[in-house]
């Protein structure tokens, strides 16, 4: 993929996916500065890893979601070790009031999804990863499998397992909320 070396190709790619990536991050992070920073990091990682993208292994969306998951996971690991929270704050892009307001709107729009993520936190990691991508981020099972680098059949089994576990732990009306606006 030329997006790592062709600015025009990258621009088209960015325009196709920036809303979805921002949404993916905003469903998991409630700080507008961090949403901006992690969204930037996802695209930076896509630029750096563009040569590794193989369309035969999945869609652009699935590939990008895989990257976004890694970026979020890295942030969580770093944040856990970060004693001084100001270190992250000091390095952030300067956002004006309008920027923050727009990001906060998006973060607010994803509040229900973040609540659901909290509800899913008790599930085992494997099933939880699949149900997050399918029911929260709107990927198909095949795309989720590609993002997680597992076989589609494995993803289907894990999704089924996650929904079973969820039915046992959540009130009956909860599962119907599990489809929200997804990624591209």
């Amino acid at each position: 993929m030329n997006l790592g070396r062709d600015p025009d190709v990258f621009e088209a790619f960015y325009r196709r996916h920036v809303r979805a990536v921002t949404g993916f991050v905003a469903r998991r992070v409630a700080d507008p500065h961090l949403v901006d920073d992690l969204t930037t990091e996802v695209f930076l990682a896509a630029i750096e890893g563009a040569d590794s993208y193989r369309p035969s292994r999945g869609s652009e969306s699935a590939w990008l979601v895989g990257i976004a998951r890694n970026v979020l996971a890295a942030e969580r690991r770093t944040a856990a070790k970060r004693v001084d929270k100001a270190v992250r704050a000091a390095g952030q892009r300067s956002l004006d009031a309008d920027d923050i307001a727009r990001l906060e709107e998006q973060i607010d729009a994803e509040r229900a999804a973040r609540d659901l993520l909290t509800a899913l936190s008790g599930l085992p990691a494997g099933p939880r990863a699949v149900i997050e991508l399918v029911d929260l981020d709107g990927l198909t099972v095949t795309e989720a499998a590609a993002a997680l680098r597992i076989l589609p059949a494995t993803a289907r089994v894990r999704l089924h397992r996650a929904r079973q576990l969820l039915r046992r732990t959540c009130p009956p009306e909860q599962p119907q909320l599990l489809t929200v606006e997804g990624i591209s």
């Binding site: 070396r5 600015p7 390095g91 990001l103």
Partner: protein
Amino acid sequence: MNLTPLDERRLADLKQIVADRALAAEPGRRARRRVLRPALALAATAGAVATGLVAASGGGGTPAFAVTRSAGGIATITITDFRHTAQLSQELRTLRIPAAVLYIPAGMSCYEGSAREVDDIPNGLYVLPANRPARLRGWQMQINTSLLKPGQTLLFGLFEGIAYSSSGTVNSSGKRAYAYSTRLITGKVTACQYRPAPPLSMPPSPSQRKLSLRFADAGSLVFPNSVSPAAPPGK
């Protein structure tokens, strides 16, 4: 799809990184005329040295610099210690290479009141060698002196500052490092008239530190005909 202003600003920054990567990947490509930019400076690749930033080095018996000139007029400059610009400029004069090197301390800009910047830079005037030995320390550039017109001088500003990167040559945040800016000028090169550089607007973001070498606390080369001329010292 309409993007927010923030999305557009991020896009512009990221496109610049992609453009830098494309430039760095092009073998033998003429170096950027100006290497320093305010943010998201350079894509961090194994070739980071070739795009303009090198760590503070020298010592250990390594020569601070080396200059050679071929019969065809190709001058090769290698610098491993950026603190000896006066001696390097003298060596360039000795070899009749119309180039000069100026050292600009951290936080300062260099005003060259007697020089005029030339915008029409011929292709191939200076290149970062594509076949540079992988283990060569420092920075290297080749100049095709036959492309310089009478009265023209290739001017290198070597800026001291702080580079942030998690990869590339400068491998730790906040390490003292050097960047260069290359200008083609006419007129006399004099000693820098220093003036405080504009303050750094903001520290690098973690993402900038992750994938790019960002240069902090560095000033610029300023000429009377610069596009955005800064006032000379004392005015």
